[in-house]
Amino acid sequence: MVEKEIIKRIREKRADWEKQKYFKAIQENPERKQKFKNLSDIEIKNLYTPEDIADLEYLKDIGFPGDTPFLRGVHPNLYRGRLWTMRQFAGFGSAEETNKRYHYLLNHGETGLSVAFDYPTLYGYDTDHALARGEFGKCGVAISSLRDMELLFHGIPLDKITTSMTINGPAAIVWAMYIANAENQRISKDRIGGTIQNDILKEYIAQKSYIFPPEPSMRLIVDTFEYGFKNVPKWNTISISGYHIREAGSTAVQELAFTLGDGIEYVKAAMKRGLLIDDFAPRLSFFFNAHNDFFEEIAKYRAARKIWAQEMKKLGAKKPRSLWMRFHTQTGGCSLTAQQPEINIVRVTLQALAAVLGGTQSLHTNSMDEALALPSEKAVRIALRTQQVIAEESGVTDTVDPLGGSYYVEWLTSKMVEETYKYFDKVERLGGVIPAIEKGFFQREIA
């Protein structure tokens, strides 16, 4: 980004600085560790300068928000226009109980809903099925019928509030119930908005709530893509998820590489069916974790946008919208501790701030008591208020991609892009995502 001659001078000056200043400093104050590494095992230098990003061309490699390669964001004005959607994942007990929690959250300023279903629902079992024993309403809300769906959204304007549903194996059916419920209230399909998770590949890699084998699952997913762009144009027909991969033990780089790899696999499957990429790609969305290493997380989101835009272009996308990597973020559940749960508020704040500085479209902040139980009203209110403080008081929303241009952040972003492509190559050599799942590659990598 800077002229060659200047880079040369910076390099020389840096060598001097290391020799004269830095050396002296560490003799007085020895470093706390021999090597500083982030959670992806990438070694972090003591200082970053223009030299570290000298290979990057601003216009080509970084660019402007709302323009290729979308590294700095998919929207030109980001949070100066509209804040992210504050969307707390919630569900427990019966549809009535969860409906009460939704009204509580909306009354406290939440701007979107996110449904947690109980395990029987996630596997497509009714509450009275033998395998549902003991699981009713634990870990999520039980939805066995259209009547349950009506109760769940009672009093909520489905044409104004968007809903994200964490449902995979039975996604097509649960989505159909949501649509039917809206239509019964005379709200047509083209007026509702939301997301179904519908991402089976990460179930095999990490989360393990699957019903059907990969191939027939892929067919169902492509069916929902097709139905979606034709009939429910404001709906995100998939949320390609790295969250669960990260929670199951991956690094940030693995989360990034495996999630985008899954995304490309879905696009290829839909194109194989004969769908046009520019018809369905604008409704693909993503879901990432926000873990502890602050800058690594920010770099991850920025890298994800760039890689996705590049790959969609390679696959033939022409519409700008098809290149957009839009994503939801949830703070890292496995980083929370049961001991001294109040400290989780601080962790969540830092993680949420990373997601915002990374340009997330929507956000769930974990409640401080989640290592112990389902969140209490008080805990979930604090979690929501944490987002509101970041949005309204911190000032970080005033400019787009405020860390753009940081030598460290740009270097790390570019490094994560590079590492991701190494994983793409590895998966390619194994024959693609599904053969790699069948060989246990991802499962071993993150174990």
Binding site: Y119, R133, G134, C139, Q207, S209, L372
Partner: protein, 131 residues
């Protein structure tokens, strides 16, 4: 030669959170025990059958969905019914404190919550294994 302690690490119910079960399984193996891991989505019947077939000394149950009051107790009752009273039953996962007395009454000898050092589980088993 001293007989090795045989442990069945089991995942009853529908949740897929197996990171804890695998960490415990590995720690017990490293402590010199023979460990059998059931894999996911096991019914009480399946777990008890495996416990009988493998002639284990300990059954360790791991669950995060919240169905422990039903499923842990199902396993304990079924083990008793099958005359496997000499098997030490322990459990772990996201188990609220207030549920622990009920589980103990039903025959779950000890419950290990989040943050438990694995060494505690190892020494508990060594001290309390019944055969």
């Amino acid at each position: 030669m001293v007989k090795k302690i045989r442990v069945l690490v089991a995942k009853p119910g529908l949740d897929g959170h197996d990171r804890g079960a695998k960490i415990v399984a590995r720690a017990l193996r490293d402590a010199g025990m023979e460990v059998i891991y059931t894999g996911l989505h096991q019914t009480a019947d399946q777990i008890v059958n495996t416990a009988i077939q493998e002639d284990v000394d300990v059954v360790g149950l791991s669950l995060l969905s919240g169905a422990h009051m039903t499923l842990f107790i199902d396993v304990a009752l079924l083990l008793k019914e099958m005359k496997m009273d000499d098997v030490l039953i322990i459990g772990g996962g996201i188990i609220p404190q207030e549920d622990v007395p009920g589980l103990k009454k039903a025959g779950i000898a000890e419950v290990f919550g989040p943050g438990t050092p694995v060494e505690d589980i190892v020494s508990y088993i060594k001290k309390n294994v019944k055969r």
